[in-house]
Amino acid sequence: MAKQYSFYPGCSSQKKASSYNQLRSTQTICQELGIQLNEISDWNCCSASIGYCGGGELPRLVLSARNLALSEKEHPGQDLVATCAACWLATREAQERLEHDPQLKTEANEALKEAGLTFKGEKKVRHLVEVLIEDVGYDEIRKHVKKPLKGIKIAGYVGCQTNRPFGIVGESFENPVYLDKMIDAVGAEPITNYQKKVACCGGALMFSEPEKSQALVKDILEAAHDAGADMLVTPCPVCQMNTEVYQSFINKKYGTNFNMPSVYYSTIMSVAFGKTAKEAALDGQMIRAKQLEEVAAR
C-alpha cells in the first residue's frame, strides 16, 4: 500500500502555474515509488519570503498555521509534505515557532478562530526530498531505474531555502550532497566540485532587482558550465525558474552563450524510471533538455 502524506503543493504548483512542470513530474515519481500525496483541500499561500511588506509577523504565521490546522483536521497522523522550498520553509518555521512560543500560539489560535480552525501543533513538516531519502532511500530509488542517464553530467544546484535555515535532514549548509547522490542513483554523473551549489539566485528579487539577480544567476550558470555540466538540477521552483528563463537576458548583457537546461530532481528521476517525456514534464522546459528527451524517446 502506498505511504500516505498530507500534501501542500503551493501557488506555483497549481495547474498551469510557473512550476506546474514540477508538480507533474512529482506526481509521476510518487506514483512509481508508492507515495500518496493527499492535497490539503483549501490550502492558502504561505506568503513565501516576500510577504513581509504588507504582512506582519503574526499574520504571516497565521497563513501557515491555517494550512497546518487544515492538515491536522483532514489528514491526522500524516506528515505534512511540501515540494516548494518557500512553502516548506514557511510552514516548518510556523510549526516550530508556534510550538516554542506559547503566547504566539495562543494569538495565532485567536486569529484562526475567525475561520473556525484550531492549530494544535501535531504535524511534522517535511520536504519531499526528505521523504525520498528517509522513507524510500537511495537504494530503493536505484531499483526503479530502468534507463540509467549514462554520460549526462549534472550540476546539483541546491540553492538557498531548501538548504537554510533548516536544510535537508543529515546535510550540511555549505556542502549538501543529497542532489549528487540522487544524480548518481539515476545513473548520471554528478559535478561534485560545483562551486555555486548553495549560492543565491536572487529569489523573489529577480522581479524587483533584475540586474543584480541576473548577475548572481550568471555566476551560477558559469560555474556549472566551467565544471563541465550539461544541465542543472534543482529542488526549488524559484531556483529553477530563475536559472532557466533569464538566460537570454544574461547572454545579451554579458556576451555569454548559455543555453543550459535547468530541471527538477523529479524530472531526471521520471526519465530514469522509464517514463515518457510528457510524464516527466519535459514539455515544461523553456530550454529543452534534449539529452533527457533522447533517453525518454528510447
Partner: protein
Amino acid sequence: MSNAYRNNFLREVTANVEEGEWVKMCMQCGVCSGSCPLGPHWEHPPQEIFMMIRAGKREEVLKSNSMWYCTSCYNCIARCPRGLPITHIMHGLAHYAKRLGMVPQNQQTAKFAQKFWDNLTKKGRVNELTLGLSLYFMNGFGEGVKTSLKMQGVGLGMLKTQRMDPLEILGGHGCKDVAGLQAALKKARQIEEAKAVKV
C-alpha cells in the same frame, strides 16, 4: 542629562520589530555582511544596521534602502556565530518601516512585496498572471509597456510550456474560504497592532 543617554530606538526595535530583542546580541563580527549575496549593494549591511540601531539612528535605519536588498537566502542566519535570526530582523525592520510610512520612495522591492501581499490576500492564493502584470506596470504605464515587450519572450515561453494560464486574468485559482482567511488575517493584524509600543 539622563534622557540624552537613553537609547530609545533600541528599545523601540526590541519591542516592535520581529525578533528585535536579538539586536543587542550582535558582536559586530561582520560575517553576515560578508555572506550576503547582495551585500555590496547595501548602503548599510546588517552588522552596520545593528550598530546604528544601538546608536539610536532611527531615521537613517528606517529610511534606508538596505534591508530591502535581503533575498531571504538565510546565509547570515546559518553563519552567525551568535545565532541571530538576521533574515527575520531584516524582514521585521522592512515591515516596521512600511507601517510607519518611512520606506524610501520608489523602493522596487517594497513595491513588489506589497503587491505580492495584496495579491495573495485577495483570494488566498497568488495569481501569478495578475501579479506579474501589476509588477510590470508598477512604475507607470509607459514603463509597463516597455517591460511587457522586454518580457514577451518569457511570457510566450511560459505559455508554451503550460506554466502560465491567460485565463487566470478572469480570477483564477483561490481558496474556498477566502472570507474566513481574511477575517483571521485581520484579527492577527489587530492583535499585533494592539501589542505595539507607541513611540
